[in-house]
Amino acid sequence: MKVFKIILAALLVILALVITASALTTRGTLPTLLERMDPENLAAQDAAMQKAKDRVTTALAENNPERAQRSLDRYINGFSAQLTLSGRVGYDLFFFRNGPSMLALALFLVVAAAGLIAHALDRSGRVRKLVLPAILITVLYVGVYIVENIAGANSMLMTVLKKGAIYALLAVSMNLLNGFTGLFSLGQAGFMLIGAYTYAIFSIETQSRAQVYQYYAGGIIQFQLPALVSIALAGLAAALFAFLIGWPVLRLKSDYLAIATLGFAEIIRAIFQYDGLGPLTNGSNLLRKFTVFDTALFPFAVAGVCIALIALLIHSTYGRSFKAIRDDEVAAEAMGINLYAHKQMAFVISSFFAGVGGALLAMYQTTVQAAAFTSAMTYEILLIVVIGGMGSISGSVIASFLFVAASEWWLRFLDNETMLGSFRVPLLRSGFRMVVFSVVIMAVVLFYRKGIMGDRELSLGRFRRRLSHRRKGGAQDG
């Protein structure tokens, strides 16, 4: 069994190497191959074959079977050489066209092979715990990549995947605060706005600034930062605002945070549209012509890394302190947890990632306008957090994709007036979708209070245990 796994892994690696070699060399070999397909070359070959064929005819007339056979062989050789040549050109062209896909596939094969080998050699079960998630993550990203190439970047499926990934980050960041630390904040849209604007302002193409800021003489910033730097700045800007709000508000015993953040979100929306800030924010006009992403892998990668960081934080000693505060502030403080410092930490980190999410949303929308960041956006994300389960990261992620798919895709028909023959279907009109959503959240709150996941996580270990009906105690690692 072990030998079989290792042989299989070796085969996978060889296949991966072949694919990689092909994908990397086609660009170089194609020109020489095409050279051999030049009309003169082909014509020379055709002439040689014509000659061979004539010789076969002559040999037959002369009743000389050996010479006829030799000439025919020569004829067939020439023919198959041409076939081989066009075959190789076709093969190379395929890799030339799908090079990145093929490299992804090779990477996937190597990871799978590594997983197989680790699986075969692993005695402690520790490697298994690391390898399985690694394989799943690779499958996810390769899957997104391949789906994008097949379905097309602008298909409804990709729209849902892109927005879903961004909403997943926004929901997880809100969950860090509302679900894991027990602080009720309603400022998500405000922090997203700051993130989106910071990103847009710093990443508009320099040559387009005059056009974008046409009412403000091209704006005051006249440079463009790389996308990742701008995203980091977006997070930092949101975090700074959170720090300034938290500084007075989080010291209070009672929870004024919800009111303060809600007010902040409303005020910031007005401030960013204020004409006096126009050279920076473009007033109430759109910001556009900034760097956007052209593949879903980008939001998946950024959101994935951010969510992974939040998950690591939540399972660290700091995360445990957050949960202690959520469960019982008085007891947490008596256990030596500095309430203000930890609340501030959770609030600032949550807002940082809300800012990053806002930047991604700006990239997704390709334009930014402050007026769009209403409190309805906060409620949307709060809804996702509640549906997924307060205190469950995987719940937030799953709920995000379901929510985006439902609102952008599956429930679209609710907003469209529909005629069945001459009968106008009642209720179906613009806005009805939100009514259905409200009913859904009421249903969740009333009957399904803990959401999809409660405060549990999707875990491979649990899944496997359930599959094999084998219950082992002593899993102490989160």
Binding site: S316, R320, K323, D327, G336, N338
Partner: protein, 279 residues
Amino acid sequence: MADAMLELSHVTMQFGGVVAVDNLSMHIDQDEIVALIGPNGAGKTTAFNCITGVYTPTSGQVFYRGELIVSNRPQGKMKTLYAGSHKDFPTQVVVNTPDRITKMGLARTFQNIRLFKTQTVFENVLIATHLHRTSNLFTATMRLNRQEERSFREHAMSMLEAVGLQDEKDELAVSLPYGKQRRLEIARALATRPRLLLLDEPAAGMNPQETDALGRFIVDIRSRFGLTVFLIEHHMDLVMDISDRIYVIDFGRQIAHGIPEQIQDNPDVITAYLGVDEE
């Protein structure tokens, strides 16, 4: 004489018009087990809350190992409202939050059990080990603190073993029976590595056998962990059994103080408790 472990000087706590603790002065020496008793509503828990920073007393001072950790005088509205019997106020104002006081070495349990409800028995104790944390946000998130994490886990586990809850470590804390929840609270307090342990009615809800075992347990952990114990309790057998000294308060005021034998026969104490259900 060395400084007392804990010293209260004229501590008064007034809520609106109610003086819950009035001019309370006491001292606890190292290695002692001292009990604070009194009828319901006498102000015992309030006294604990003043010591541990949950409340800032209206007036008075608290010293821990000679260090002034709490000091206050009537301020704002309390200047005119003040109704305590001691009128000689300290000049200094010192306020410490409960987490800082716990870090100094005072740990407590709660009368109305306050466990972390969504967490397991083990996690409840693990959280209490964190005040000795040296890792920062980055090293903790990136798992660069494995050694520290391992020592936290070992320490938490040994605390669970000390109270005999190691077999229930993966259960939800709130699913434990009452008596075990109280023991878990003690394990959690011990995990902060205190010098002074404040127990607020640790035997509440326990049957006589459990109460007996708890008494032996308290004496045992005192010597094992080098603790000083300050205890609020209604079970008189337990109090008389294990206490070195007893303070009795009623309506926030000290009415008696002495060794168990003195308290048992004190007429004031008997009057205060007369007609009061002693549980």
